[in-house]
Amino acid sequence: MAFSQAEVLAGLAEIVNDETGIATESVQLEKSFTDDLDIDSISMMTIVVNAEDKFGVKIPDEEVKNLITVGDAVNFIVSAQG
């Protein structure tokens, strides 16, 4: 069963909150991980690995640098679902 865009966003917001303490409602599609949410590369890698576990997808390292905004990540995860 695939996760919807809204479900991925909500799940990702929980992962970001758990790692960084940023409020889940601040994790919005247009927000940039680095510029808006101030998430560093180490936290980003932890978020990626936790997202892989949660959504059952693979996010290759070379893809992570393309995930500028929360929306980029949500779209990637939604389309990567089998």
């Binding site: 790692e19 303490g21 932890t46 690995v49």
Partner: protein, 413 residues
């Protein structure tokens, strides 16, 4: 002549309490911080030792979840202790380049390392978290403190097993005397109550196996002592030159007079039975402070409660002090706290400082039958140390043949 170094802030989280005040109160009350470990892994591994001096207040109850996620438990204890000490010192406003950290650990981030190894084995390399290295490195606690108080004058970590905490405080002396920095946060921490270190210390027969009565297990100087008890936590002191402290109106607990570090080159774990290296550390420390052995009123002994260790330290002390040893009030506070390894020297420095500040030597518990081979004046209930200038030393010795001694003096403006 360089000015006096004074202690202006104290912080700790220990098996007796989550801060200095509660720890000191429990220590004076003769409480034991040792208890059975209530964790699944005790039964899972059928450990020969099932108790320890666990931190009275969990770090998770003090720090934010995110701080805990990015810091090994050893660094969590360090941060809690350092923040208390820094606040206690009045949150000094000092240029970051003039602030240094000397903060020790004996083992480092052992929980982080071994959890990461489990992740590697069970879930593969991608599940080894990117914070693993910065969390397991032994300089992690010092670095965490340095970032928290913006110390840019140098952040260093003494690693000398159970002598680490005392050595870190001794190392602060030169930083201040040379005028390189104005203020130093010094101390040490440990978070090693994990099945592997417990199993390893037990396999070398270093630990007490008194599983049926944990509170009575740490019994330095008692004839029935059978090993040390692992403890966890951290301690921190704020040190600065007297003129600097007075200029900013800080309260002063005591004077840090001097320190010394020597090494045995005898055996990797056994103390030199003649106590030569330890004796040399005490003598050097007193010499550096321009003091005579007859000036010493109080000793916070290393006294871990191992059969040979307590005697080796006694031999060293008798060698140094001769008959004067009988006039010195000796406290073995590991009887209450257990042995915090790299954190031991830090919390025992705090106990020594408070003994001078309050003129009260803390008790040693569980000395039901004093070992006749160690004829010393052990303080078994809180004792007034009298009037006038008081001098006290705190000893720490570690695997590797490390001997570290620091000397404190009561402070009168």
């Amino acid at each position: 002549m360089a000015g006096k170094i004074v202690v202006t802030g104290l912080g700790a989280t220990t098996p007796l309490g989550g801060d200095v005040e509660s720890t000191w109160k429990a220590l004076l009350a003769g409480e034991s911080g040792i208890s059975t470990i209530e964790a699944d892994w005790v039964g899972e591994y059928d450990l020969p030792v099932t108790f320890a001096g666990q931190a009275k207040v969990k770090a998770l109850d003090v720090l934010t979840p995110q701080e805990c996620k990015r810091l090994d438990q050893s660094s969590q204890f360090a941060l809690i202790a350092a923040r208390e000490a820094w606040k206690d010192a009045g949150t000094p406003e000092v240029a970051p380049e003039r602030i240094a950290v000397e903060y020790a650990t004996g083992i480092g981030g052992v929980w982080t390392l071994l959890n990461a190894y489990d992740d590697l084995k069970n879930r593969g390399p991608r599940r080894v978290m990117p914070m693993t290295i910065p969390m397991l490195m032994p300089n992690g606690p010092a670095a965490a403190i340095g970032m928290d108080i913006a110390a840019r004058g140098g952040v260093r970590t003494a690693v000398s097993a159970c002598a680490s905490g005392t050595e870190a405080i001794a190392n602060a002396i030169d930083r201040l005397r040379t005028g390189e920095v104005d203020i130093v946060v010094a101390g040490g921490c440990e978070a090693g109550i994990h099945p592997l270190p417990l199993a390893a210390f037990a396999s070398m027969h270093a630990l007490s196996k008194r599983n049926d009565n944990p509170a009575a297990a740490s019994r330095p100087y008692d004839i029935d002592r059978d090993g040390f008890v692992m403890g966890e936590g951290g301690g921190a002191v704020v040190l600065e030159l007297e003129e600097h402290a007075l200029a900013r109106g800080a309260k002063i607990y005591a004077e840090l007079v001097s320190g010394a570090v020597t090494s045995d080159a005898y055996h990797i774990t056994a103390p030199d039975p003649e106590g030569t290296g330890a004796a040399r550390a005490v003598l050097r420390a007193l010499e550096h402070g321009g003091l005579q052995v007859t000036d010493v009123d109080h000793i916070n002994a290393h006294a871990t409660s191992t059969p040979v260790g307590d005697i080796a330290e006694y031999t060293a002390l008798r060698r140094v002090f001769g008959d004067h040893l009988d006039k010195i009030a000796i406290s073995a506070t590991k009887s209450s706290t257990g042995h915090l390894l790299g954190g031991a020297g830090a919390i025992e420095a705090i106990f020594t400082i408070l003994a001078l500040h309050t003129r009260t030597a803390p008790p040693t518990i569980n000395v039901d039958n004093p070992d006749p081979a160690i004829p010393v004046d052990v303080v078994t209930s809180p004792r007034n140390l009298g009037d006038g200038e008081l001098v006290a030393i705190s000893n720490s010795f570690g695997f590797g043949g490390h001997n570290a001694v620091i000397v404190f003096k009561s402070y009168e403006k």
